[in-house]
């Protein structure tokens, strides 16, 4: 399994999805808040909590095509499935790498962003914890949607239509500071569903 993780991370370093671009994406989306809504301090503090979740959801939705599609089209998926009897190792490695590449930058840059949006230390920690827990759940969901829709070409908006209703509970509870237990429960539930459904989808397409 560590080989698979290494492979995916190396692929991402050599491709266009590197750390600086992802960080810039998040900073730029959050930068739109003062342009769109005005620069009053109180308003910025309230809006930041919500829009940071929207930015996370957007980054996951935009990159949902990159999880399994490249391997599927190259035929690597069949090879990996024949080599490993249990496909769950591939799936877990995909969870880890997808989270690493597209969610971790937001968590890393969060202290800087909260400084820009006038949030104090306690609020930042609350948002960080919620984002940490909820981002895993959203990555799980994106993985199973990607595995189920491998054959559909150029349907990123259709996948967004499927994924956003599934993200809604995460965003509802995520933007509220004291709900991390419910977020944890949601993430665990989505992990269970996702492992099963992703394995089912990959086996469907692998035959």
């Amino acid at each position: 399994m560590s080989n698979l993780i290494k492979r995916d991370l190396l692929l991402s370093f050599y491709s266009s999805a590197n750390f600086f671009f992802t960080v810039s994406f998040f900073i730029l989306i959050l930068m739109l808040i003062p342009f769109a809504f005005g620069t009053q301090t109180e308003q910025l503090k309230v809006l930041f909590r919500g829009v940071v979740w929207i930015a996370l959801a957007l980054s996951i939705i935009i990159t949902v095509d990159r999880i399994y599609n490249a391997d599927y089209e190259d035929g690597n998926l069949d090879i990996i499935m024949q080599k490993n009897k249990t496909i769950e190792y591939l799936i877990i490695s995909k969870y880890i790498t997808h989270w690493f590449i597209y969610c971790l930058p937001l968590l890393v840059i969060l202290p800087v962003l909260s400084f820009l949006f006038y949030l104090d230390y306690l609020e930042t920690v609350q948002i960080f914890i919620n984002l940490f827990i909820g981002s895993f759940g959203m990555v799980f969901i994106a993985n199973f949607v990607s595995a189920l829709t491998l054959g559909a070409r150029r349907t990123i908006f259709l996948k967004a239509i499927i994924m956003i209703p599934l993200f809604v509970p995460f965003i509802i509870f995520g933007s509220d500071a004291g709900s991390w237990p419910i977020l944890l429960a949601l993430s665990m539930l989505s992990f269970v569903i996702s492992i099963y459904v992703t394995a089912y989808g990959l086996r469907l397409y692998g035959e």
Binding site: L148, L158, P165, P169, I172
Partner: protein, 233 residues
Amino acid sequence: MYIKIKNNHIEFIKSANPYLIFATIFAFVIGLYYSLFQSPPDYIQGDSMRIMYIHVPSAWFALMTYSILAGSCVLWFITRNPLFNVVARSIAQVGMVFTLMSLITGSIWGKPTWGVWWVWDARLTSMLILFFLYIAYIFLWQAISNKELASKISAALAIIGFINIPIIKFSVDWWNTLHQPASISKLSTPSIDTSMLIPLFIMTIACFLFLVTVSLIRFRLVLIENKMLRTSN
């Protein structure tokens, strides 16, 4: 018991079609008469209450159709009988129309009655999500070219969506109790008088007949589409 669709079944549905259409139109005419003329206007809401007679059946059938869709997909996964797949595909569009109608008529009813076109409470948000679930089911089936695969994938997503609806309803309820937006809880409908129950009942029957009629038409349509897909491969 493996239910196989034979030609005499299709002939029976085909011959029942004119009767069903006639019954639907008849029920709608009676329902319209009762809802527009015969029943009295509401004391508080006035004549705008009449929109309830088309809004409530639409909402009921939107939810009921999705339950039938999800249940049919579950049965298809368990038994692999293609009949259930055909049933699911034939009622999906009908359910989408009913959801859209309940959203639009509910919005139009809300403006004079409660002053707003829309409010983000649990029921309305769940209806909006339900609309997108129907859209996802219908268009996902069209997007995947291998139709065997498409059936399995859209069935899986229909079931996941069915699980998602109570989660969303619970989440939005919880969020609303926390954040207390201004105008919500007035949306509970007042207790219904018998003079209003009769038009509601008749319109419900009319909508049900419409559901059955169009579902059976789409049933035949889906069967022919399946045959054409098989012969073209």
